[in-house]
């Protein structure tokens, strides 16, 4: 490899004014790529969550997606008439399942998705404000509202945990639904961390002077979180 040392001034990482490395523009470029790569990895996990749902639902192993077959058919027909067939339809503690479990109330599921969509919308508005040279007073309240809605989504998700008409051990539907809720909360907590940081930094003027790129990147992440939450909500409501 031929190299030249002509005319390319050495600009040390540790000499720039834009943080650890480089200028804000260069940081923006790197972090922009990184956010999309992170979303790619997260999307693979998300797709596998959907795969789990539909695979288990389609298989309905031992009639235990929601325990439906335990009432619709005789236990013997479910298990192929084997001698242990009567033990098939049991929950995780060995108690017999005698009925199809109820699904989670769609109102809660959809409301949680709506809250996080609203949170993402506020972050989006904040980005628009920041891009247009909005002041600290213009951007910060929007980010603050975004954080408030994320907190509301977390609280509602926890409430939904408390009032579900089933427990984790009652079959594959219950398991997968609660896994989705856990996944939602993990996403929301991440969004809360990012959102709180944005809000705080905006409050002390870190995003003035055209340094709005972190708001932009966060908006991408928030939209992804809102999108994935909405898809999970629709899947659980439409394909229970």
């Amino acid at each position: 490899m031929s190299v030249t040392d002509h005319g390319h001034e050495h600009t040390g990482y540790f000499e720039g004014g834009g943080g650890y490395h480089d200028t804000p523009q260069e940081k923006h470029r790197k972090e922009h790529v990184a956010v999309w790569l992170f979303i790619f990895g997260d999307a693979v996990f998300f797709m596998l969550e959907l795969f789990f749902w539909f695979y288990l639902r389609a298989n309905n192993t031992a009639g235990m997606w929601r325990g439906a077959d335990c009432t619709a058919q005789s236990p013997q027909s479910i298990a192929g008439g084997g001698p242990t067939a009567t033990n098939i339809c049991t929950d995780g503690l060995g108690n017999p399942i005698t009925h199809e479990i109820a699904t989670a109330a769609p109102l809660h599921t959809l409301a949680i998705a709506a809250l996080i969509i609203i949170a993402a919308a506020f972050v989006w508005f904040a980005e628009v404000q920041a891009r247009q040279g909005g002041t600290r007073k213009g951007v910060t309240p929007l980010l603050g509202l975004g954080v408030v809605f994320v907190v509301a989504a977390i609280v509602w998700q926890i409430v939904q945990f408390q009032i579900l008409p089933f427990t984790t051990i009652q079959g594959a539907y219950a398991s997968t639904f609660e896994f989705y809720m856990g996944s939602n909360i993990a996403h929301f907590l991440l969004a809360l961390t990012v959102g709180f940081g944005l809000f705080n930094r905006s409050r002390i003027g870190k995003y003035e002077d055209g340094r709005w790129f972190q708001v932009h990147l966060s908006r991408i992440f928030f939209v992804w979180v809102a999108f994935s939450s909405a898809v999970l909500a629709l899947v659980t409501v439409l394909f229970a």
Binding site: M1, V3, H6, H8, Y20, V44, A62, I169, G171, A172
Partner: protein
């Protein structure tokens, strides 16, 4: 041309530089980690009101607390807290974070310099290989005689599981850890990785992942094999929780590292470093990074669901409650087969660098070779079910998966032929790295060809459950991957340590290793042809000769690795000082000092030709590359 004085390691910083980092190191990580684990244990124990100190819930909470606590203690999360509070680091904080003025202590801290992280990874990999290798020796000792009482079958099963997973972890990071961190940024003319703090985070996450899996021996062991198939793993002792937590933590590390590698290459190439001029090792690193980004979430999903099945009673994998073991197997192998190429592609990239440098020839069919590696990565995500031919899952899909598996031999063959084409009729300089290249070529043929047998459904029905498979993947991952890593160590050792690796000891180690591999794994092929099942602690008398051969070979192999380790350690302390470019190579990492200064180059390099421009007048290794003016070649496409 303006030059900037390099930042010396003994630069004096202010007394407050680094902030909290000044007080954090490996010891504080251990202390906070252990305290967190104890607190987690007490709280979970109290909340559950359980008399069983080792229930799944208690073990899980305790070990997660350890991982989080250790990383808090060492400083992994300082940056995100500071960012949230708006307290950005200043210039001196950054210098402190990069290890300036800390000497050897920076290797025990949350250091952001990519060269420190690369060195940390190298040492960690050697430690993991030491642990995994010791377990392998215990396995082979057990198998010396048909009804050995060296250990109980339960202990044997656990050792097989832990050996397998530790080796998988070690091989995933054996090249992408040390060399993609230390060497790759220099190869593209960057001053560091794109996200230095994430780089350090990825390393310390792996460190925090190790104690849980080692501790699993104290928690009843993991009797389910390294693949930990459900529902066997769901019923395993609490050690399985530790195993799964190790994997989840490791997945986070690999994901962070993969993103960092990709962003570094995509955005930080120096001027003139166009995609067509990227060294093959860089291509290998980003392709492996991207493949890991696809594969590792599947591992996280598989093990997360495993943990919830065990801890909170979900039923993903328990058929009686609506789950299915096939779900685990699919998810595991959706990760598992791409992961093989995450392991293999970086060492192959390193060996191609070696082939070109020591043959004094350009890489043969550069674009074809890069296409071949991309082809391997693409097909790697379409072959997972060949691991499940014998499980009974979806028999109608066996043929398509057999086809895709056999197809992958085409790009693999292309890469192999390009490697041979590179050294073909070259002016070969036979130094230690070339020895490893030759050994790789031999071993990889054996491992690759036997892989084609296993892709064939009828043949797989016979071989899948026996030692033939064990021999096949050891030829591939050890004979191919680890030998490639050993080649990479011997090639880049002068750059990393500033000293030459002792070739006499290195070649002695090489011959012992080469012999050990053949004796060990040809012995296992023999066992497989005889029909000996794998994963058994005791076996029939007819298999003894083959097992004795394999065990003796394993002792020889271990001896070889110990000698190689001795060469590494002794040369690090007493080796001859290395010049900047001992191999007279043309890629960018050799155009700076050994070891490179902080930020790597005194002057930002501008690349004007490809890294393999060994012309016909350049057959003699004595010739040094000469800088040429920027006007002499293209300087387009750089990131800066």
């Amino acid at each position: 041309m303006t030059m900037t004085a390099p930042l010396a390691e003994d630069t004096k910083l202010g007394p407050k530089a680094g902030g909290l980092y000044r007080h954090q190191n490996f010891a504080t990580g251990l202390i906070v980690g252990i305290l967190s684990a104890v607190i987690g244990w007490v709280i979970s124990h109290a909340l559950l009101q359980s008399s069983n100190w080792g229930s799944d819930m208690v073990v899980t909470v305790t070990l997660v607390s350890w991982v989080v606590g250790f990383n808090i203690g060492i400083g992994s999360f300082n940056a995100i807290f500071r960012w949230s509070l708006g307290h950005d680091e200043d210039h001196e904080d950054q210098l402190y974070g990069a290890g300036v003025g800390q000497g050897w202590k920076r290797y025990f801290k949350f250091c952001t310099d990519h060269k420190v992280v690369g060195t940390q990874y190298l040492v960690l990999v050697m430690v993991l290989f030491g642990v995994g290798g010791t377990l392998a020796m215990m396995i082979r000792t057990q198998l010396l005689t048909p009804n050995s009482q060296f250990m109980s079958p339960e202990t044997y099963n656990s050792i097989v599981s832990i050996h397998g997973m530790i080796m998988i972890i070690a091989t995933i990071i054996m090249v992408s850890g040390p060399f993609a961190n230390f060497i790759m940024p220099i190869m593209i003319g960057a001053k560091d990785m794109a996200f230095p703090r994430l780089n350090a985070l990825s390393f310390w996450l792996v460190v925090s992942a190790v104690p849980p899996i080692l501790g699993s021996f104290l928690l009843g062991g993991v009797p389910a094999g390294w693949t930990t198939y459900a529902p066997l793993a769901v019923q395993a002792p609490p050690a399985m929780d530790a195993f799964a937590i190790t994997i989840c933590t490791f997945v986070l590390s690999v994901t962070v590292a993969g993103i960092n590698t990709l962003v570094t290459v995509l955005t930080m190439r120096t001027k003139g470093m166009t995609p067509g001029r990227l060294p093959i090792f860089v291509w290998g690193s980003i392709i492996a990074g991207g493949l890991g980004l696809y594969a590792m979430p599947a591992f996280l999903m598989a093990q997360s669901a495993m943990i919830t099945d065990r801890v909170v009673g979900t039923s993903f994998y328990v058929a009686m409650q609506g789950g299915t073991g096939w779900l685990y197997e699919n998810t595991f192998w959706i990760m598992g087969h791409p992961e093989v190429y995450v392991i293999l592609i970086p060492p192959v990239g390193a060996l191609i660098e070696i082939a070109s440098t020591f043959s004094r020839k350009p890489v043969f069919a550069y674009k074809v070779m890069v296409s071949g590696v991309i082809g391997i990565a693409t097909l790697a995500i379409m072959v997972w079910a060949h691991h499940m031919f014998t499980t009974g899952w979806a028999p109608t899909l066996a043929d398509p998966f057999m086809l895709t598996t056999e197809l992958i031999s085409i790009p693999t063959g292309i890469v192999f032929l390009c490697m041979v084409g590179t050294i073909w009729r070259g002016s070969i300089w036979t130094r230690l790295p070339m020895y490893f290249l030759y050994l790789f070529l031999f071993n990889f043929i054996v491992g690759g060809i036997t892989g084609i047998y296993l892709s064939d459904v009828p043949v797989d029905q016979y071989f899948h459950g026996n030692m033939f498979v064990t021999a096949h993947f050891h030829y591939t991952l050890l004979g191919g991957g680890m030998i490639g890593a050993a080649g990479a160590v011997s090639y880049w050792y002068p750059k990393m340590t500033g000293r030459m690796l002792n070739e006499r000891i290195g070649k002695t180690a090489f011959w012992i290793i080469a012999a050990g591999i053949q004796i060990t794994y040809l012995g296992q092929f023999w066992e497989g042809f005889q029909g000996m099942p794998r994963r058994v602690a005791n076996y029939a008398q007819i298999f003894q000769h083959a097992n004795d051969m394999s065990s003796v070979g394993a002792y020889i192999l271990m001896t070889g690795w110990i000698v190689f380790l001795y060469a590494i350690i002794s040369s690090w302390r007493h080796g001859v000082k290395a010049p900047a470019n001992p191999w007279h190579a043309k890629s960018l990492e050799w155009q700076t000092s050994s070891p490179p200064p902080l930020e790597n180059f005194l002057v930002d390099p501008v690349v004007t030709s490809d890294p393999y421009g060994y012309g016909e007048d350049d057959l003699a290794p004595q010739r040094q590359p000469q800088p040429v003016s920027a006007e002499a070649g293209s300087t387009t496409g750089g990131a800066h």
